[in-house]
């Protein structure tokens, strides 16, 4: 525990640092899919400010504030992290870097990785140098993820990987992929999967973008043909990859629940709605009532995310309850974007129209309750694992 004085000292220092280092262009505005800084070898920065902001934050460990310093983080305690978030929100600072490495692989490596693996893989994630994608889903393995068929044949010092993944977000832009690969075909389905790390530049890895309803093509089919994966590129034990996969999913779910842009920005929905009525309209009573309900739920779900983080410090992570966070957060985010569309009226109906790409963001949110496990799967997890219902 730190004294209040130390914490206030930390806050003051941080505030000064943010004032001096967060470029004006990286403050304010409703964040959108297009303005996210993902990092990686091939990332096209939207502006110099975006690049500078990422680099400055990374140098301080602020891209991954709670990771240990030796792995590229700032080693913040939970209380310091809250202050960090408050100060970022205060100036409406954008997130300097977001990535699957930060949200998903990082926590899994911190938990299951060897010290060498952590030293090797984590700092480049923190610095935004290596971008990761997630190779879980397959055409025949969606909600029933444990039936993945992509297989890895044991060739002594490496696995020979063959198979297909689908819905791999940003596979065409990522540098590496973490993938679920069947390494034992005889074992029961949960017991024959390994969690492998694969370089996307390896021979035999191929991606084909798929166009989304939002017009963007953020996800891909990913093909593996005789890809050689060295044995040391496994996280956890051979055939025990399901444990890593599930652990990672709880982090992914927590992230999706709050990363739903509706919750992270700290801005009131009603205020945002009012801004989109520049032609002098006002919210009608139906829209207003819906916005109020949305705001009540958003604030409460936000508090719930914080509560679970507080609990994690006290020794118990969100675990199965991450399914609850994901379900509630994503369903809310979808509603929020329905209201944004409604407030925009016909102005919101054009791609890159008067309200920017609002319809693309709206359509993108529809995936929130599908990716990372669908809402129905979340409810099944809660009913089985939390409530003890069903076989």
């Amino acid at each position: 525990m730190q004294s209040n004085q130390e914490l206030e000292g930390f806050r003051a220092e941080l505030r000064d640092w943010l004032e001096a280092n967060c470029p004006a262009e990286m403050r304010g505005g409703e964040p959108s899919e297009a303005s996210v800084c993902w990092g990686g070898k091939n990332f096209q920065f939207e502006s110099d400010a975006q690049r500078v902001w990422m680099e400055r934050a990374a140098a301080k460990g602020y891209t991954v504030p709670t990771w240990p310093v030796e792995y590229g983080g700032a080693g913040l305690t939970r209380t310091q992290e809250k202050i960090f978030k408050e100060e970022m929100d205060r100036i409406e600072a954008r997130n300097p870097l977001q990535s699957f490495g930060i949200w998903m692989l990082g926590p899994a490596l911190l938990h299951f990785g060897s010290h060498e693996q952590k030293l090797h893989y984590l700092p480049p994630i923190a610095r935004g140098e290596i971008r990761w994608c997630q190779g879980y889903s397959e055409p025949g393995a969606g909600s029933d993820l444990a039936s993945v068929q992509t297989r890895g044949e044991d060739k002594g010092d490496h696995w020979l990987v063959n198979g297909q993944k689908i819905w791999t977000s940003y596979a065409d832009k990522a540098d590496w992929i973490f993938a679920l690969v069947r390494t034992d075909r005889e074992a029961p389905k949960h017991k024959g999967i390994s969690f492998l790390l694969i370089d996307m530049e390896d021979a035999g890895v191929e991606t084909r973008p798929i166009k989304l309803i939002s017009g963007a093509s953020v996800f891909c089919e990913t093909f593996f043909t005789d890809v050689k994966v060295p044995k040391h590129q496994i996280v956890g034990e051979e055939n025990r990859g399901w444990d890593v996969a599930k652990y990672l999913l709880t982090h992914e779910r927590e992230m999706i629940s709050g990363g739903g842009q509706g919750l992270s920005g700290g801005r009131a929905l009603g205020a945002v709605l009012n801004e989109s009525m520049e032609d002098g309209r006002e919210m009608d009573t139906t829209l207003r009532a819906a916005a109020m309900r949305c705001e009540v739920d958003a604030l409460s779900i936000g508090l719930t995310l914080e509560r679970y983080k507080d609990q994690a410090e006290a020794g118990s992570g969100a675990g199965d309850a991450s399914a609850m966070l994901k379900y509630m957060g994503t369903e809310l985010n979808k509603q929020r974007h329905e209201l944004l569309m409604s407030a925009g009226g016909s102005d919101a109906l054009e791609w890159d129209g008067p309200l920017g790409n609002r319809p693309a963001d709206w359509l993108r949110t529809k995936a929130n309750s599908i990716e990372g496990g669908t809402s129905e799967v979340m409810l099944s997890i809660v009913s089985r694992r939390v409530l003890g219902l069903g076989a």
Binding site: K82, A291, M292, E306, R307, D310, M324, V382, S383, L389
Partner: protein, 371 residues
């Protein structure tokens, strides 16, 4: 931001309260009280006072246990689970919070009488079918050094039996809060036949005398005292409703695991599993808002309004969902008076209206969020 995990003390308090209530105040106790046509259990209130519950918000100097608002929420939550009947909210939370904001010897004595369990209070604010303290029209006319109160109050929870009333009335330049004995000349109390079988009254005031001493705080500025009292009450009521939701939910889950149809327990049907899971999610989210309101009232009471309204709004919608889903998933038996789930439904309906309904509190939240 405050830490949103229950402290060890709070967990212990909850366990102790549960232990006492399971013995002394299971739902059966409420049923017996209702069947006997009673709305108050004086013996139990005395026991609660002896445990420090009546004085939960009373300073130790006045004989209270001074445990704070989060602790009051913990107690209210446990009482809500088994629909405990007591003047806890009206007296120990609302009246005590009001009196605490007045620093004079009379208030100190009144606080002591609350902590000891000797005196109960009711809050007489509502005049129409919806909570709207600012719209109070009952008048207190100046007469010499005192006032004369005339008008009508309704939905005065615990007002049929309370020893004293906190009455909100209009004075020359604002609103004033009076603290008067409920049996004063000119006061007529008509008990309401409430759906939740609790004490509530319509109260007529006909030229009721109030001295300057009966004024709580300053004339014309009731809100400086009433606002914190209302917020304390709203937060504790929200906690009670969350307890009620947990109680109804627990009954429902148990029933899903026990009732068989189509050759299997109905908890095996995914249609019901998902409804139950959704309800649990709502309950979890509401728990955060309630814990946060208690923390804000304890740590930063001047800025707690939004947190309190958030808690009351969420608690209201969650309780309504919990009881509706509860009755539905019980099938026919849930509709019978002999089965307890219906009690939860009726209590939730009353809680939804008391001290501001969903729309009132969602509106407060919106106002604080700038729209």
């Amino acid at each position: 931001m405050a830490n949103l995990v229950k402290t060890e003390d709070e967990t212990m308090l909850a366990d102790a309260a549960r232990g006492f209530l399971d013995k002394s105040a299971p739902v059966k106790a409420f049923r017996d009280l209702r069947d006997a046509g009673q709305t108050h259990d004086a013996k139990m209130w005395k026991e609660m006072a002896d445990m420090g519950w009546a004085g939960v918000l009373v300073p130790e100097s006045a004989g209270g246990s001074d445990m704070g608002h989060a602790a009051a929420g913990v107690l209210a939550h446990e009482m809500g689970k088994t629909l405990v009947v007591s003047p806890f909210l009206s007296t120990a939370v609302i009246a005590a919070s009001a009196l605490r904001n007045v620093s004079d010897a009379r208030a100190e004595a009144a606080l002591a009488s609350i902590a000891s369990g000797d005196v109960t209070y009711a809050l007489a604010v509502d005049e129409t079918a919806k909570f709207n303290p600012e719209g109070t029209s009952m008048v207190a006319t100046r007469e010499g050094n005192g006032f004369r109160l005339s008008g009508k109050k309704t939905f005065v929870v615990d007002g049929g039996l309370a020893d004293r009333l906190l009455v909100l009335a209009k004075t020359d330049d604002g609103l004033t809060l009076f603290d008067i004995p409920a049996n004063r000349d000119g006061i007529t109390r008509n008990a309401q036949n409430m759906i939740d079988a609790r004490d509530s009254a319509r109260i007529d005031f006909e030229n009721v005398e109030a001295t300057g001493d009966d004024v709580l705080g300053q004339v014309d500025s009731a809100m400086s005292i009433l606002k914190p009292a209302l917020e304390a009450g709203q937060a504790a009521l929200a906690a009670e409703m969350a307890g009620l939701s947990a109680g109804a939910f627990g009954m429902t889950i148990a029933y899903l695991k026990e009732r068989k149809q189509f050759g299997t327990v109905i908890g095996n049907f995914q249609a019901l599993q998902h409804r139950a899971a959704h309800l649990w999610c709502e309950i979890e989210v509401t728990a955060s808002a309630i814990l946060n309101a208690g923390r804000m009232l304890d740590d930063d009471p001047d800025n707690a309004t939004m947190a309190v309204s958030l808690a009351k709004a969420r608690a209201t919608s969650t309780a309504q969902l919990a009881v509706q889903e509860g009755v539905q998933m019980h099938g026919g038996i849930g509709m019978t008076d002999a089965y307890d789930i219906g009690f939860y439904m009726k209590r939730a309906r009353v809680g939804a209206e008391w001290l501001g309904d969903y729309g009132y509190h969602a509106g407060q939240v919106a106002k604080h969020r700038g729209f």
